[in-house]
């Protein structure tokens, strides 16, 4: 550790007559290549090896290739795509409503004192009640159809978006408000130039939580109160002991989750490109 390959450095060591020890680094060091994939791949390999060695109960944990086969089969006979589309539509409708509500309420509450008085406390009260606990009441009100599912997902989504956006709005640096006054910005312009861009980082935190929430809500709703969709497919598979079908459903949910989270991240990186200079 003390010797270096550079001649110059070696000279210094000689001149000092005391080898200069490089301090022990405390950081974890360089990142391994494809570090994030290593763990999942290892699990997959272990699973495949154990299945091949017949160390696993195939009825409880089918082999990876069985799951792939089942997936392909469900896809080709058209049932999987129907279920996926049904689920996606529910999640997307609920998410869109929740997103709109979250943004509108956060703006109304963050920009006006009246709005704050009316909205902020109400939303926080709403937050205190676990949304999934509202399911029985919503079924009574809206029936067991799509409306109630979309309503529940919308509520799950709007809360984190509202909370984070509102926090970001109220946290906007007062110095920038002063600047806007000095520059003589109109209220509308102030909102466009300062409030909205300033609140975007917080909004994206809420957005990502909202996306995750929409999938969570979807899973719960489909498994207890549905007659179609991915969750229903998995629920049925449970009744017939088809663990491979359940795993196919989980894989699809996983792909949904990953894809939506990556999409939000990509949008976030583009919209907040000015921040890259800070983190790099």
């Amino acid at each position: 550790m003390t010797t270096t390959t550079l001649d110059k450095a070696a000279d210094v060591v000689v001149a000092d007559e005391r080898p200069r020890k490089r301090r022990r680094g405390l950081a974890p060091g360089k990142r391994l290549p494809a570090a994030r994939l290593t763990g999942p791949l290892l699990v997959l390999v272990l699973w495949a090896v154990a299945s091949a060695a017949e160390a696993l109960d195939a009825a409880a944990i089918p082999a990876p290739w069985t799951v792939v086969e089942t997936g392909v089969q469900l896809w080709t006979d058209g049932t999987l795509i129907t279920d996926i589309l049904t689920s996606l539509q529910r999640a997307a409708s609920g998410f869109a409503i929740g997103l709109t509500a979250g943004i509108v309420l956060a703006l109304a509450s963050g920009l006006t004192r009246t709005g704050e008085a009316l909205i902020d406390g109400t939303v926080n009260l709403n937050r205190a009640i676990p949304t999934l606990g509202l399911i029985p009441l919503f079924i009574l009100w809206l029936g067991i159809g799509e409306t109630f599912k979309i309503a529940i997902i919308a509520i799950v989504v709007y809360i984190p978006i509202y909370l984070n956006t509102h926090a970001a709005l109220s946290g906007i640096d007062n110095r920038f408000v002063e600047l806007a006054e000095v520059q003589g910005l109109s209220k509308l312009r102030f909102i466009r130039e300062i409030v909205i861009p300033g609140a975007l980082p917080g909004f994206f935190v809420g957005l990502r939580l909202g996306v995750t929430g929409s999938w969570l809500g979807l899973v719960v709703l489909e498994q207890i109160n549905a007659t179609s969709g991915l969750g229903y497919m998995m629920f049925q598979a449970q009744n017939y002991g088809q663990s491979d079908v359940i795993l196919v459903g989980l894989v699809v949910y996983g792909i949904f989750g990953l894809a939506s989270d990556s999409t939000v991240r990509i949008i976030e990186r583009r919209v907040l490109s000015w921040r890259r200079t800070l983190s790099s």
């Binding site: 920038f176 000095v182 520059q183 130039e193 861009p197 300033g198 000015w274 921040r275």
Partner: protein, 238 residues
């Protein structure tokens, strides 16, 4: 130098018994002040002497402050703060143009950036600029509006000594070219002497000393001791 007749007829800033107080504590205690058009005034004082309060009052930024008195200031006022206060989410040119529209304004914005030595950095993000460059961009933002009055609240306080010297020269040069009235708040006696034509010392909410600086004279040392004495600072003579 601004013509005397203009000075006599219409001061750019006029304060008459201006009083401001926070929580019952009087910060400005009946200030009378005329700043002629085109004059460069430096305002010295200890922390808490009310110099920022005075500047904020002239800038119209003291919404929730109780006070009385008369205040006239020009329509076009620009403020330079101690921090550059550039919006991190807008590129440099967009920051300079904040609140302005149109091709004409954009042209002037580019010119102002060139004037402060930031030509070619129009598309940079503020975070990519050094502290001195950020403050230059802030100067460009205040210039682009062609202010009749430029208010500066310790604009160089956060800069390193070498950058500060360069900024002094730049500010003086810009002032000579555009001739706005300037009110510069600082706690740096030397900065005040180097930059201003007139130095005011604010003391317990009143103007304790009003010193005209003859820029041709070599009396800097004398100005310095007088100003320091007014600030209650004694220097050891070695």
């Amino acid at each position: 130098m601004a013509p005397h007749t203009e000075q006599l007829t219409r001061p750019a800033v006029q304060l008459r018994s201006l009083t401001r107080s926070f929580d019952g504590r009087t910060v400005l205690d009946g200030i009378d002040l005329d700043i002629p058009a085109g004059q460069f005034v430096a305002l010295l004082g200890h922390s808490g002497s009310g110099k920022s309060t005075l500047l904020r009052a002239v800038a119209g930024l003291d919404h929730e402050v109780t006070g009385s008195g008369q205040l006239t200031a020009p329509d076009r006022v620009s403020v330079v703060f101690q921090d550059s206060r550039l919006l991190p989410w807008r590129r440099v040119l967009a920051n300079v143009l904040l609140g302005l529209d149109g091709k004409e304004a954009e042209h002037r914005g580019r010119e102002a950036l060139a004037e402060v030595g930031l030509k070619g950095r129009e598309r940079a993000w503020p975070n990519e600029l050094s502290g001195g460059e950020q403050q230059r961009a802030a100067l460009a933002r205040s210039l682009v509006r062609e202010p009749e009055l430029l208010l500066a609240d310790e604009p160089f306080g956060a800069l390193d000594a070498l950058t500060r010297i360069k900024m002094h020269a730049l500010l003086r040069e810009l002032w000579e070219r555009h001739r706005p009235s300037v009110l510069l708040v600082t706690h740096d006696v030397d900065e005040a002497i180097v930059l201003a034509d007139r130095v005011l010392v604010l003391e317990e909410g009143r103007i304790g000393l009003d010193l005209t600086i003859d820029r041709d004279a070599h009396a800097r040392g004398e100005y310095r001791s007088r100003l320091l004495a007014a600030l209650g600072v004694t220097e050891d003579v070695r």
